[in-house]
Symmetry: C2
Subunit: 218 residues, 2 copies
Amino acid sequence: MEISIQKRVLEANESQAEKNRKYFSSKSIFVLNVMSSPGSGKTETLCRTLRMVMPRIRTGVIVGDICTRNDADRLEATGAQVVQINTDQFGGDCHLTADMVYRAANELDLDNLDLLIVENIGNLVCPAEFDIGESARAVVLSVTEGEDKPLKYPLMFQVADVAILNKIDLLPYLDFNAQEAVENMQKVHPGMPVFYLSAKTEEGFSPWIEWLSASVRN
Amino acid sequence: MEISIQKRVLEANESQAEKNRKYFSSKSIFVLNVMSSPGSGKTETLCRTLRMVMPRIRTGVIVGDICTRNDADRLEATGAQVVQINTDQFGGDCHLTADMVYRAANELDLDNLDLLIVENIGNLVCPAEFDIGESARAVVLSVTEGEDKPLKYPLMFQVADVAILNKIDLLPYLDFNAQEAVENMQKVHPGMPVFYLSAKTEEGFSPWIEWLSASVRN
């Protein structure tokens, strides 16, 4: 019974996700779902990204957290349209659903957006199971988290279209083997592009910004 | 309906957790549930801890991961009794349940243990909701994860009895404000002890080992 309810929850989500996808497509908005562990640097990476692509790419952000609007405040400082979802009103949900994203999106001026970024809740497990109607998914892994994370959390790396390896400015102080981490990503998702960057120093942003810009244009 | 099922799942878990608690207590085993984000350094912290407390404290470890037995292999190298739980056989569950822990515990020689450490799945959200019949809970936060995590994931810091602030060897290379992080912990859980340490350099382990040793003796 538990499993059949779980299946029904996922099916209802899938159905709303398909509606979202058609809705965003009808407005020519590219939707990027950004996922990671807590503290991998999603928000800082997105703040830098927004400053580099706006106003050329008109961008809105939906940011999910269980509590606080800290991230929304940081993202709003870039000038982007931002909506915060707090899941504590949904029982502290550990992921965003298609329905939450739909409702939040309608608080934005969608007719003036080319790109909608959804910063999901910091969790390397559950968000991977919930389609939100996005055009593409990015997973962020920071170099402080260990090389074996793609093998330990394979679904996240399988559903992602691209990966960002963040905080490369810390590599000199760590025993982290970046090549091994990327090899592990390729084991679970052969061919996935990986962008090495540092949201702190801005090193390595160009290929990521090029990928994002090309994705929005297409 | 979804909510009532969820409630029933939590109630069934609670009931098994109480059984576990009585069972472990009857064997005079102190059970520590260790939780954190992926990549905060739980396994490395535990490897160091085991080397410091064994054989004085006879220790077993149950280690939870969705996939791989990488962590079990690292922990076994310390000489501890180790059982790996992989939740991919349970649909990739994002947390350990009381039932999983009960079954895994019975693969250990419990009559020759003083301390059972459960290394939960790397997830700062869901494991906080599932009592496994532990004697105490420790949350590990690494200094690379940001000061605001206790405010963004309050339940985890509320249910924890102690916190470990790990990777302090990296502080010189980060903008992390450790005092602010600890203040945020105290906001959601006033009075919670916090141990500053580095699993890499072994700096700061003494107070943590003292706390653990005293807890096992009582």
